[in-house]
């Protein structure tokens, strides 16, 4: 389609796109580097009742069948859930692929663009399968969070117990605000009132929609919390700090 072209936009003030993109690049890169290091480290993931979320569920910790870090067996699930997440897709398409860098900032000319119609990005359509996996992981993380209150000398509350609990709450909010879950719970229906269980499905869909409006917030908060929970367990497990008992 012919238009006057970019020449007429030469006079237009350019939207500042760096301030929008840079924090995303920095945070996601930093998290990626830290998570990769921790996944391969294969140590300092457990202390007392605490288990790092990067290693949960803990499989073959004694290397009977798997000689490498146990985190490598499981991290694909949560990673896939985040990579295919509708919010993170927006974040990294803009920040890493500059596709687009900002809404009214032109992309580099001459690039072939196929969006999510071809490999590898067509695989984003598997998000719901990662959601199913994430539900299983979340169940394990809740188990770990509850276990974090049971010390060798009985029930108690350490800083780590609170860290793991806050983390699992944020992860739950992130999962329950998922677009795919909202669709599966009721969004896929055209008529709530003419379907079996339509009324509870409408209520569920409406509740999930409220959470869904804050999906971006939960995506970031849970990313920070999961990183911090692992970091805290590592500090305690390596002896760098003592876990203060609150109760």
């Amino acid at each position: 389609m012919a238009s006057v072209g970019d020449a007429r936009l030469a006079d237009a003030p350019r939207e500042a796109w760096w301030p929008q993109v840079l924090p995303v690049v920095l945070v996601l890169s930093a998290f990626g580097v830290y998570a990769t290091f921790r996944a391969f480290e294969g140590a300092f993931y457990e202390w007392g009742p605490y288990l790092s979320p990067f290693y949960s569920p803990l499989i073959d910790a004694h290397h009977h069948y798997w000689p490498f870090s146990p985190a490598l067996l499981i991290l694909g699930g949560p990673l896939g859930f985040r990579v295919t997440c509708y919010y993170y897709r927006k974040a990294y398409y803009r920040a890493f692929f500059l596709d687009p860098p900002a809404c009214s900032v032109a992309e580099r000319p001459g690039r072939h663009y196929s969006g999510e119609t071809k490999f590898p990005f067509i695989l984003q359509n598997a998000h719901r399968y990662f959601l199913y996996l994430a539900v299983v992981f979340l169940a394990f993380l809740w188990h770990d969070a509850v276990r974090g209150f049971f010390f060798g000398d009985g029930m108690g509350v350490g800083v780590g117990s609170v860290v793991l609990l806050v983390n699992v709450i944020l992860l739950t909010l992130y999962l329950f605000s998922c677009h795919s879950l909202r669709h599966l719970a009721g969004g896929k229906l055209d008529c709530f009132s003419c379907t079996t269980f339509g009324c509870p499905r409408h209520s569920t869909w409406r509740g999930l929609s409220v959470l869904n409006e804050r999906h971006m917030l939960f995506a970031w908060l849970s990313l920070f919390s999961v990183g911090f929970a692992d970091f805290y367990v590592r500090l305690v497990s390596s002896g760098a700090i003592r876990d203060p008992r609150l109760l």
Partner: protein, 249 residues
């Protein structure tokens, strides 16, 4: 009275350049007021499309300081006063003259969409809960700012393969209608190219009606396309159900 400098595009699809005009700024003034002032006092031949001046007709879309907006909803005091205000026609559509663009591509896309088709024997009563979602989509004023800002159209020129956010909103309104009996997922996938959308939410950011285009229309439609074309388990379930129904008959 304070004065603003406007740099307005003057020209056609053959070419053009911005011209500067000085406009007195009154309290409550919007960019469209400033354009009318220019028309009245300095350039009577300035072409501007407008109608209601109330943010409801969707006619006065333009790019103000590089951002797609309705000029009737952009207050002058919301823009930096210490520099010229640049007003350009929408980038994604061919210019007819000055700020008026040819948006006819949108009407061609619209024709591809099968209209509301009620289910046979539909009961013409439905509850409010069933129609809440669709009512949000009915707020669209067809200003085409979302079409203009979408990078699939704006930067990649996929007009032939892509429908654009406005028409995903329209399809969502039909697909989620409790009485509609037609599936448009194949149309979404093959002709409206919903897969080209990489959900970067620019359409939502510029929508003057505040429609949650990405979260409430495009992503739910993408999920419906996944249901029908990319979910092997659902495909299997449909096959088994289909075989069951065939056996019953």
């Amino acid at each position: 009275m304070a004065e603003a400098v406007l740099k307005i595009f003057r020209g056609t699809s053959e070419g053009g350049a911005t011209a500067e005009y000085r406009v007195p700024v009154a309290p409550g003034m919007v960019v469209l007021d400033a354009l009318h002032h220019v028309q009245k006092h300095a350039a009577p031949d300035l072409a501007v499309r407008w109608n209601c001046k109330a943010g409801k007709c969707g006619s006065c879309s333009a790019e103000v300081n590089g951002r797609p907006r309705l000029t009737c909803k952009t207050r002058m005091d919301s823009l930096p006063q210490d520099q010229a205000i640049t007003i350009l026609p929408m980038k994604s559509f061919p210019v007819i003259k000055d700020l008026v663009t040819d948006v006819s591509w949108n009407y061609k896309v619209n024709k591809k969409i099968p209209p509301f088709t009620p289910r046979p024997g539909a009961d013409w009563k439905f509850s409010q809960a069933d129609i809440d979602r669709v009512q949000e989509f009915r707020k669209c004023i067809e200003c085409f700012l979302c079409q203009n800002v979408c990078h699939v159209v704006r930067d990649h020129g996929k007009q032939e393969q892509f429908g654009g956010p406005r028409f995903f909103v329209r399809v969502a309104g039909l697909e989620m209608h409790p009485l509609d009996g037609l599936s448009r997922t194949k149309l979404l996938k093959d002709e409206l190219g919903i897969g080209f959308c990489n959900i970067t939410k620019c359409c939502t950011e510029v929508c003057p009606e505040g429609i949650h285009i990405t979260d409430n229309a495009i992503i739910p439609l993408k999920e419906r396309v996944v249901d029908d074309f990319y979910d092997p388990v659902l495909r299997l379930v449909r096959k088994i159900r289909g075989a069951g129904k065939a056996a019953d008959h």
